[in-house]
């Protein structure tokens, strides 16, 4: 068990299947035990007891698209960071590897500082 690469990941798959089976069993039990008396009033959209006004999928202003950009940048950075983090202090890497990653992170940090300075990190 766990001797080969794929075998160790198959456990993950089995656990996922087991989790799904347990949820299905829970909902089957729920189906047997629950009451079932649907009515239109029960199934209206909840708006604190009043009749719902307009459509539930209302238009809204998403204020944080700039955050989403920044997030995408830093998320990619962190994916690069993990393999590097494991090897950078092994022989053959050392200060050069650290300096390269330092430059990479510094450029992104500069971007964050720029966004900060421009005032886009303020929730209006």
């Amino acid at each position: 068990m766990g001797t080969t690469y794929l075998a160790s990941y198959s456990t993950l798959g089995f656990l996922l299947v087991l989790g799904v089976l347990v949820s299905i069993a829970a909902f089957a039990a729920n189906r047997l035990l629950r009451t079932q008396a649907p009515s239109p009033a029960k199934q209206t959209t909840y708006e604190c007891g009043l009749d719902p006004v307009g459509d539930g999928w209302a238009q809204m202003q998403i204020r944080y698209y700039v955050y989403a950009f920044l997030y995408a940048l830093f998320a990619v950075e962190s994916v690069f960071l993990f393999p590097w983090a494991v090897v950078y202090d092994r022989p053959g890497f050392g200060v050069t590897a650290a300096a390269e990653m330092g430059v990479f992170v510094a450029v992104l940090a500069l971007g964050l500082a720029y966004a900060w300075r421009k005032g886009v990190l303020r929730w209006l």
């Binding site: 949820s23 649907p38 959209t45």
Partner: protein
């Protein structure tokens, strides 16, 4: 031991931990909050000081009617609670309980795997909020998206700092590389990781997406019965996973003042319990952060601190 038997034992152990630990945390939350706020907690279920309250809740939830709003997007609405819950089950698979591979499945990239599956939670929130076709749930889901977008970063960067210090992504390997000295020089990362972790699982004071005094119950407003119970279970499972990760990455996992080899599992559980207690404590102590305060804390405090910690970690590991 035959292959299949061992596999079944491992899976059932994970499932049992997943069923029991969140309930223990939930019951502790009822009782601890009651004591801290000077009120009566659950006292009747189970005849002795309400110990069976959560079981009683479960029995109640499973008997309740399953209501899907007429205007909701049915399949997405009904699937969301399971998507919220299952990532935490998968995360428990690789968290080590004790030394000598006392873990359901050792993985070389365990840390990366855990960070990846914990990130799935946001998908469930967006699904629930959008599919309910309700203004409150939509607002809650949008708040949650903004919050988790931001806090994912310091969360991952703080974990990267530990990976750098340990030189491995295996969670057992990280605990083996750990020494008490880490409590000092990884302290900023510990604080960043814990705070960002709280925000990841949307616990107070980071519960703006739920915000019961503004948004009814945020993205869970339309849920009832078993599906609502699964969302609540996901919240407690989230506490367990975040506490376990904090323990394994920063607090030395199974390392204790004595008998780490024999009593490793006990030290791990004690530390997880202590961190969970702090999570509950924070809920009682701090008011909810406003949405703009949330983002400011993340981008202007936590991310810079986490980047600084990366520089510190790189410097210290290369010099020593």
């Amino acid at each position: 031991m035959p292959f299949w038997l061992e596999l079944v034992i491992r899976l059932v152990a994970v499932l049992a931990a997943f069923m029991v630990l969140p309930l223990v945390v939930g019951q502790t939350e009822h009782k601890v909050m009651a004591h801290m706020q000077g009120r009566l907690g659950p006292m009747y279920a189970g005849a002795y000081r309400g110990w069976a309250q959560l079981l009683a809740d479960g029995v109640k939830f499973v008997q309740k009617e399953d209501i899907t709003p007429a205007r909701a997007d049915r399949p997405v609405f009904q699937l969301a609670p399971m998507i919220a819950l299952l990532p935490y089950l998968l995360a428990l698979l690789v968290i080590p309980l004790g030394p000598n591979d006392l873990v359901a499945q050792p993985l070389d990239i365990g840390l990366f795997m855990v960070l990846a599956v914990v990130g799935i939670g946001i998908l469930a929130v967006l699904m629930a909020g959008w599919a309910s076709a309700n203004k409150y749930t939509l607002l809650g889901a949008m708040r949650a998206a903004a919050q988790l977008l931001g806090y994912e970063l310091p969360f991952v960067l703080a974990a990267a700092s530990v990976a750098m210090a340990a030189g491995t992504l295996s969670l057992s390997g990280i605990v083996e590389a750990w020494s008490p000295w880490w409590l000092l020089w990884q302290l900023p990362a510990l604080c960043v990781f814990f705070i960002a972790g709280l925000a990841e699982i949307r616990r107070p004071p980071f519960d703006a997406p739920i915000a019961d005094s503004e948004l009814v119950f945020g993205y869970m407003t339309e849920y009832s019965g078993l599906r609502f119970a699964l969302f609540l279970l996901a919240e407690y499972a989230g506490i367990v996973v975040i506490a376990a990760l904090t323990t394994v990455l920063f607090l030395g996992g199974w390392r204790g003042p004595f008998a780490s080899e024999e009593l490793g599992w006990l030290w791990t559980l004690l530390k997880v319990g202590a961190v969970s207690f702090v999570v509950i404590w924070l809920r009682v102590s701090y008011p909810r952060l406003r949405v703009d305060q949330l983002q400011r804390l993340c981008w202007k405090v936590l991310v810079p601190v986490a980047l600084g910690q990366l520089v510190l970690t790189a410097t210290v590991t290369l010099l020593t």
